[in-house]
Amino acid sequence: MTPLLRIEGLSKRFGGVTAVDAVSLDIAQGELHALIGPNGAGKTTLIHVLSGALPASSGRAVFDGVDVTHLPMHARVRSGLARSYQITSLFPNFTVLENLALALQPQRGHLFTAWQPVAGDETLFAQAQTQAQETGLAGRVDTLAGELAHGERRLLEIGLALATGARLLLLDEPMAGLGPDESQRLLQLLQSLKGRLTVLLVEHDMDAVFRLADRISTLVYGRIVATGTPEAIRAHPEVRRAYLGESAA
């Protein structure tokens, strides 16, 4: 089966520094693929390049058979490749429902020609309501995003990416800074996505990674040193040395 996302020799250089070094990786349809690695390994940079926030220096990314390497970010999102951010990035003056409705808007088209007031669009807000439910924010739809608790903000962060109608989600450390209870809610959300969507997950929480992932890749100094099932990665000598630390070996 052809992979949903094929990454071929993708590199990103900043001057003399190679942050992502000829990464090749196939992500299958429906797979939850985790990307782990020590700080500074280039995980977030890879997300930036795949999502279109940064241009690639070389190599290419093929999403669903289409070379998206040079597409602008919004075009990638429209084709079904969306990301979330490590540092929460919402619309603080919009309510939760308005945030989600906004993310639903581009796929409806007619951005430049529709003259009907958005507020009267009942289908749009019904969809947003469903999205809020799925994201676990049904009770907070009328709250301004800027007034949400940290954990809820992290949920909405992913909710926005989901609302774009993405088929592949690039999640950049969704659990960053969450307490145990909040982590649990987010874990449930991620669990509910499994199978329905394809996910590339960058995450430092190893419990979550090993519970969720179908396959795991380990990035060290911009290179993939190992890809495999959670069991294989757990046992991989190079991963243990480079990432889990010498003492664990």
Binding site: A82, Q105, A119
Partner: protein, 321 residues
């Protein structure tokens, strides 16, 4: 459902305002102050221009420091056409809109690649280029500007030289333009614009073509500013390069900030306040800009949503909602 984004008019306020504006010149004439009809016309035109700038600054987060260029484009388009023998006001005003829209398309296409301070500087630079271009073109009258030999006609048997008739024509265009901006801001494009103002990077990441959306808003604002310029040219019967000078862009920006950036009637409130202060204070002292400076300081410090924001706040605290 809580709705924080839709801009609503209370029908009473909107209709009341319109009735007031309809009756105003009749009152002024009854009080034997016909000169003030011309002042009221000028204020309406500036209210339209400042509102178009508010669309960019207040709703799109695009702090454009070159709005005078579009006003100038519209004004000179009208002057050139009237001198060339075109007599229909509706035709020359449409041309003014096109001129403002076209120039804003060109300037916006380049400027909108930049953000923040760079955007402010590059729009200023383009406007100054337009200023010096007009200044150096003999065909446009250089620093003397151009006079309009006659006022373009409104048709329908209306006398264009009649100040009252002209006031009502301007009022109609003002009302239609504001209604259009209101529709636009509540439509998907307007909502997207407010999203861009609040978080541009995320808008791109949820699939909005941010650059094209900003350019569309920039062109709409430029076209309306061009219309305003065309009306000014018609009102004054002459155009001069000073219309394009950067201090004009600054004055328009002051109107928006004073009136309330991101408040629907911010541009209107600012234009009314600034031009009335100028009218009243200039009679008493040449130092009147000092008073304007103090007023702006007060607004920025104590009422960041401007005069229009104060009015809203008063209304809401009274209504308890």
């Amino acid at each position: 459902m809580r709705d924080t984004l839709t801009i609503r008019f209370r029908p009473v306020v909107a209709l009341g305002g319109l009735v007031l504006l309809l009756a105003l010149p009749l009152g002024l004439i009854a009080l034997d102050q016909p000169f003030y009809v011309v002042l009221a016309t000028r204020i309406l035109i500036y209210a339209l221009i400042a509102s178009s700038l508010n669309l960019l600054i207040g709703y799109g987060g695009m702090v454009s420091f070159g709005h005078a260029a579009f006003v100038g484009a519209g004004a000179y388009a009208v002057a050139v056409l009237v001198r060339g023998g075109v007599t229909s006001a509706w035709l020359v005003w449409t041309a003014a809109m096109l001129a403002g829209g076209l120039l804003s398309l060109l300037i916006g296409a380049v400027s909108l690649r930049t953000r923040g301070v760079y955007f402010i500087m590059i729009t200023l630079a383009f406007a100054q280029m337009a200023y010096y271009l007009v200044l150096s073109l003999k065909g446009l009258g250089s620093d003397d500007g151009l006079n309009l030999p006659r006022r373009p006609t409104l048709g329908l048997g209306l006398n264009p030289r009649h100040d009252l008739t002209f006031y009502y024509a301007v009022l109609a265009l003002f009302a239609v333009s504001l209604l259009g901006m209101w529709r636009l801001l509540n439509a998907p494009l307007g909502r997207a614009l407010q999203g861009i103002r609040d978080n541009e990077a995320r808008m791109e990441a949820i699939g909005f073509p941010v650059y094209r959306l900003k350019l569309a808003a920039f062109v709409v604002a430029g076209a309306l500013a061009g219309l305003g310029g065309g009306l000014l040219a018609t009102l004054n019967g002459l155009v001069s390069p000073s219309l394009l000078h950067w201090t004009q862009s600054g004055t328009l920006m002051i109107m928006v900030i004073l009136g309330g950036a991101g408040q629907f009637f911010g541009g209107v409130a600012g234009a009314v306040a600034l031009l009335l202060i100028e009218e009243v204070a200039a009679e008493h002292t040449i130092h009147w800009p000092l008073g304007v400076g103090v007023a702006i300081l007060a607004v920025v410090l104590f009422a960041p949503s401007g005069l229009a924001g104060l009015w809203r706040r008063a209304r809401f605290s009274r209504g308890g909602a």
